[in-house]
């Protein structure tokens, strides 16, 4: 079996220093704004992205990596390792993107060279990233694939994410709204708390008008779920650090927080949720 190597995609929104520290390979998705196409997080910084979409009339569109791109990455990892490796490739919810599809095809292509276990995280943004980082740590410490996968499955079950989007326009236009679609008839400006369902679709966890009520609802949900258990917190924000900090303070202050990571929502997820969106992810620490 040998060592475990971790691959994910750019929608995991993992801060660059953590990518490096835990030896995570990130495959970029692509973002098209107007006539230009960029590789998420490679030749387009999040800062540049949010500037661009502000000045562009059109909404950005995104596309998954090709199977070939995954294949290249998988082969390179296998070749660079002297010993036998297993790749755990953890990705954006298959309900939201074809990334899983590409990775799965690629894994099939390379199966003679390397074993790739492709996992649908059924999540998005740092709700993937926080778990990927945890598994990468385990792998670095020498855990085998069985141990990694066990931990992965537990974390996938027990990690919750809540998004506060500034407008539903982006989700709607990109068709990523899933079960939240019922909201669109409304003429009233409703800012729901969105979450991801067990099958990886976006759904409105809580609907109300007004941010205070939304924050209170998230706080209540995480308190009920995690109580006094130690947790890791991930805050991600689409060009809205202050808002992210407010989210952290207002929703998690009574939890037993072991660590907090604040990260930016990259161009791809940013294209789907829109600027000024924020999300909080809570993952059990033990």
């Amino acid at each position: 079996m040998g060592r475990v190597k971790i691959v994910t995609d750019s929608t995991a929104d993992i801060p660059k220093d953590l990518v490096k520290k835990y030896d995570i390979t990130v495959v970029p998705l692509k973002v098209a704004i107007g006539n230009e196409t960029f590789q998420d997080g490679v030749n387009l910084t999040t800062e540049a992205f949010y500037q661009k979409i502000e000045s562009s009339e059109e909404l950005p569109s995104t596309s998954q990596p090709t199977p070939y791109e995954f294949e290249t990455v998988y082969r390179r990892i296998a070749e660079n390792e002297a010993d036998e490796v297993t790749i755990l490739s953890i990705h954006l919810s298959s309900q939201l993107s074809g990334t899983m599809q590409s990775a799965t095809l690629a894994a099939e292509e390379v199966k003679d060279a390397v074993h790739v276990d492709v996992v649908d995280s059924k999540r998005a943004s740092y709700a993937i990233g926080i778990i990927v980082v945890e598994i990468a740590k385990l792998a670095q410490d020498g855990a085998d694939v069985k141990a990694c996968k066990e931990r992965l499955n537990t974390l996938l079950e027990e990690t919750k994410v809540y998004f506060l989007v500034n407008t539903l326009e982006y989700l709607q236009k990109n068709g990523r709204i899933g079960k939240a679609s019922a909201l669109f008839g409304t003429l009233l400006k409703v800012k729901p708390v969105l979450s991801l369902s067990e099958d990886g679709q976006v759904y409105p966890y809580f609907k109300a008008r007004g941010r205070k009520k939304a924050l209170a609802a998230i706080r209540e949900a995480v308190n009920e779920q995690y109580g006094s258990k130690p947790v890791h917190i991930g805050i991600c924000h689409a060009n809205a650090l202050e808002s992210g900090e407010e989210l952290l303070e207002k929703t998690t202050s009574s939890l037993q927080v072991e660590s907090t990571t604040i990260t930016e929502i990259g161009a791809v997820i940013g294209s789907h949720v829109g600027p000024e969106s924020v999300a909080v992810t809570v993952m059990p620490a033990k």
Binding site: K179, A182, G185, T186, L187, L188, K189, V190, S197, Y203, P204, F206, K207, A208, R209, G210, R211, K212, K213
Partner: protein, 569 residues
Amino acid sequence: MSEAVEGKKLASMFEQGAAILAKNVKTVDALNVFPVPDGDTGTNMNLTIQSGIKEVQSAADNHAGKVAKSFSKGLLMGARGNSGVILSQLFRGFAKAVEKKETLSVRDLEQALEEGVTTAYKAVMKPVEGTILTVAKDAAENDQSEHSSAAAWMSSVVKKAEASLEKTPELLPVLKEVGVVDSGGQGLVYIYHGMLEVLEGNISKEKAQSQPAPSLDDLVKVEHHQNAQSHISTEDIEFGYCTEVMVSFDEDKLKQHHFDETTFRNELAKFGDSLLVVSDEDLVKIHIHAEYPGDVLTTSQKYGSLVHVKIDNMREQHRALQQEEQTSASHEEQTSASHEEQHEAPAPNDEAQYGFVTVSMGEGIKALFKGLGANEVIAGGQTMNPSTEDIMNAIKKVNAEHIFVLPNNGNIVMAAEQAADVSDKHVEVIPTKSVPEGLSAMIAFHDQAGFEENKQAMQAARQEVKTGQVTYAVRDTSIDGMDIAKGDYMGIWDKDIVASGKNVEEVTTQLLENMVDETTEIVTLIRGENGQTSTDNVIVNYVEKNFEDVEVEVHEGGQPLYSYIIAVE
């Protein structure tokens, strides 16, 4: 021993009670404490009792118990507004007590009245003294005296009711402040008066008419209102022509186009709806509502010759019908026999998990509710309280496992609860008392959540929004320490008048000054049918200037009478 009251006499008592109330509808309306343009206690009670009388008359029984039962059933179905609902409960108890009695002795009547009071008190969750309930209770109080006749007994009932009515201002401070007696209680006194007249054989000159003058206006309004509900607007008719065609099969044509009824039906189905096809060896008859009748004719002609063609423009019919309804109150039968009605088969569709019935006035508000997923929006509210039956009819139209009813008006809550009780579906009333409460409750609904969870979330949400309303005074008054002249604007926060004046902008901003506090995030203005966008701007500017971090949203509600309905949350 006095003569017992027979069924016919009891029916006359009810009729005369209704007649006296009908004669005094406007008086009762005028007693409504709040000088808002919806002082309609009298109207509501009158419509309620008329529904009872209708039922009594159509049953035409001489069995007293059965007469009372018919009356009670009619009241129950027709109940409008809180006073109407309480009235229906009073007679529900009454009917229950005399159910098996062919004639009624004084003792029977006494007990029936008492039973009515018990039933009504049970039906009201928080009975308020100084209202129709108190008057009914005091009137039914057994004074242990022997009455020589039913007339003598009823006379003492009326006296007790009047005495109780006089005391209502002592029990309900708001009545005292305004200087009136309770409107519902007054309505009941009128009814008892009418009943007494029959027992005394002293029927007042304006004898019971089946359609008392003051109520005709209201019945027109109600009929109009109901018709507006059951009929879509002219513009909404998708397929404009009722097309009937009879085709005689032609051998030669059949060789080219084999006739198969199912295939033919499918061919026609794309042209419209309400499709009916009947065929035998020689003929096929077709009925369809289509937008392009020519297509139907061309398709039919492939199989033979057209022997009969009839095409009606349904939009024109509908328009004419609507006009008739507006000018006449007695067109009910005609309406139900109208073309559309005959063909309006209820569409069988899959049962949804949740459905919503709500009540509001104004196309804009209706659109807001529809946008949030309301299945049925009953036109009603401030100016016209829908009856239990109206609400039941709306409930019937909703095909869902759980149905939430949002009455959006304090005076419709009881009728909604009564409808929920009578309905065999699973109906839950979320007692929303205003449009903002209704909207908040619907926003809190979550289609993935369970019934109980939703119920609680909606209940909680309705309590988290403050409701403001801006309307005008219908008469001079002094209330809540404020002198208000007829025609003045009033700013009402929940139940209290907190601002008044000649200028709508000033009153609205004053109202908002009271309502907005540091927890406020969003102010939603719902503009009435006569509102101006220039007024909106003044108010929006005021909020933006005076309250940092408060968002303002303006919607066109189209509601009558209320310049603004405001949600502060």
